[in-house]
């Protein structure tokens, strides 16, 4: 028998990741390094918010509140996103590294979810995976190019990589329901995902001059999945929900 709490917790964490990173990435709109890249990055941010909407809708069908209510009225400690997604954008090198590390994990996660025993999720995963195909093409291409371009680009990406990795490992913070999710066939689990992710990250970085520190020496930053966030999340939520809090029926 499937535990509904286990399923909801899984959906919440994926949806919150997509919403928060979608919002962060959208902060580059109008500020991107070149017009074409500005358009591409903004468009992917919009995809992520659309994906979070699809997952919040699924949660609503499972008895949770309306998608807008879920997205705009919770406080930071009620969000299940990993800390990686809420960190400020910084310079473009950090945003690209985060995009690469995060989307590499997400396409693998949704690939696994296409086999989920929860049919609505399995069906949605096929579509999300197709959209993420572009996100990873975009991320991998930039990382391969800038990861072996100039001394400045390599140095900056390396520094951002080292800064981001402990947070990236936090993507795979295990749920309290991990074994139930695995046993009921809903999701093959964070450990399995993390193993695939490491292999793929190593594979792409092999094409660059970037080097990975020893995985064993990286201390994961966890807590996001249980609502323990950095000081950066609440200001993001305040800004994102400003209009909704003034007028919940506003349309624009």
């Amino acid at each position: 028998m499937m535990n509904p709490l286990a399923l909801k917790e899984l959906l919440y964490k994926i949806a919150d990741d997509q919403l928060i990173l979608g919002h962060r990435n959208s902060e580059w709109t109008g500020m991107g390094p070149l017009l074409e890249e500005d358009i591409a990055f903004s468009s992917m941010a919009q995809d992520k918010i659309g994906q979070s909407y699809a997952l919040y809708t699924m949660l609503h069908e499972l008895g949770e509140q309306e998608p807008d209510t879920i997205a705009f009225t919770r406080n930071a400690n009620q969000f299940h996103n990993c800390v990686l997604t809420e960190l400020p954008n910084g310079e473009y090198d950090f945003s690209l590294i985060r995009h690469f590390l995060y989307d590499t994990a997400e396409i693998l996660r949704f690939d696994m979810l296409t086999n989920s025993s929860y049919q609505p999720l399995a069906q949605l995963a096929v579509k999300v995976r197709a959209e993420l195909r572009y996100h990873t093409l975009h991320a991998n291409t930039w990382i391969k190019q800038l990861g072996s371009a100039t001394e400045e680009s390599v140095t900056r990406l390396q520094r951002s990589l080292e800064y981001a990795l402990p947070y990236a490992l936090g993507i795979f913070e295990e749920s309290a329901y991990e074994s139930e999710l695995i046993n009921s066939g809903i999701f093959a689990g964070e450990k399995a995902l993390q193993e695939q992710w490491k292999i793929q990250v190593e594979k792409i970085l092999q094409h660059t001059q970037l080097h990975l520190p020893d995985w064993q020496l990286i201390q994961p930053v966890i807590g996001g999945r249980i609502g323990k966030h950095s000081e950066h999340l609440q200001p993001l939520l305040d800004e994102m929900s400003e209009v909704f809090r003034i007028d919940p029926t506003a349309e624009w």
């Binding site: 500020m31 017009l35 468009s43 995976r129 572009y134 093409l137 624009w252």
Partner: protein, 202 residues
């Protein structure tokens, strides 16, 4: 003052009165031509250009730049410098009538993609593929590929090996496009919203 906008910070310095400086080279990437196939079975057509550091990035940036809204099943890109252009004609004169015969050239024949223009100011449409040892020969050989009953104003030829095509496993990139309602400008109902606003403001 430093702007938050990186593009403002890239603007050239104002310079000193009375001094003459050599013109600085442009801080711009080169251009790449983007071709889009709207549906299976339809020909590719020229859609526009992107700036990019190289062919692979051009493909990546063209996908989001040109295929976010309208139907698309595949794209390809080529460096602008690799596009060969015939003379332009006007009125009733077809470019076919002025393309000169190219005698069989020595050297290896390679594939060229040919594009034709049916209306000035419209897009070039893919006509087909020919084998030739150079772009001029490719245009001459292409005569049989072109619609005989129409006036054609211009031809393009691009060597196939200079093109970045969509790989078969990448076709998934456009899978969800038809259902993306929010990407269709008309679905924003901008006109209705403006009308409503003006009504309320009366």
């Amino acid at each position: 003052m430093n702007s938050l906008d990186p593009r403002v910070n890239r603007l050239p310095a104002v310079g000193q009165p009375g001094q003459a400086e050599p013109k600085a080279p442009l801080d711009q990437f080169g251009t790449y031509e983007v071709f889009v196939q709207p549906r299976d079975g339809k020909p590719f057509q020229h859609e526009g250009i992107v700036h990019a550091p190289n062919l692979e990035m051009a493909f990546v940036l063209a996908k989001e730049g040109f295929t976010r809204r309208f139907n698309c099943v595949s794209i390809f890109v080529a460096d602008t410098r690799h596009v060969y252009v015939s003379p332009l004609t006007d009125g009733d004169k077809s470019v076919i009538s002025i393309i000169q015969e190219v005698s069989d050239q020595p050297g290896e024949k390679v594939s060229y993609e040919i594009f034709h223009l049916l209306k000035r100011g419209k897009q070039h449409v893919h006509s087909g593929t020919v084998k030739a040892s150079g772009p001029a020969e490719a245009m001459y050989v292409a005569k049989n590929l072109l619609p005989a009953d129409k006036v054609i104003y211009n031809l393009w030829a691009i060597r196939m090996s200079d093109i970045r095509f969509t790989h078969p496993e990448e076709q998934e990139l456009w899978m969800t496009l038809p259902e993306k309602k929010f990407r269709d400008a008309s679905d924003y109902k901008g006109g209705d919203k403006l009308k409503e606003f003006l009504e309320r403001a009366k």
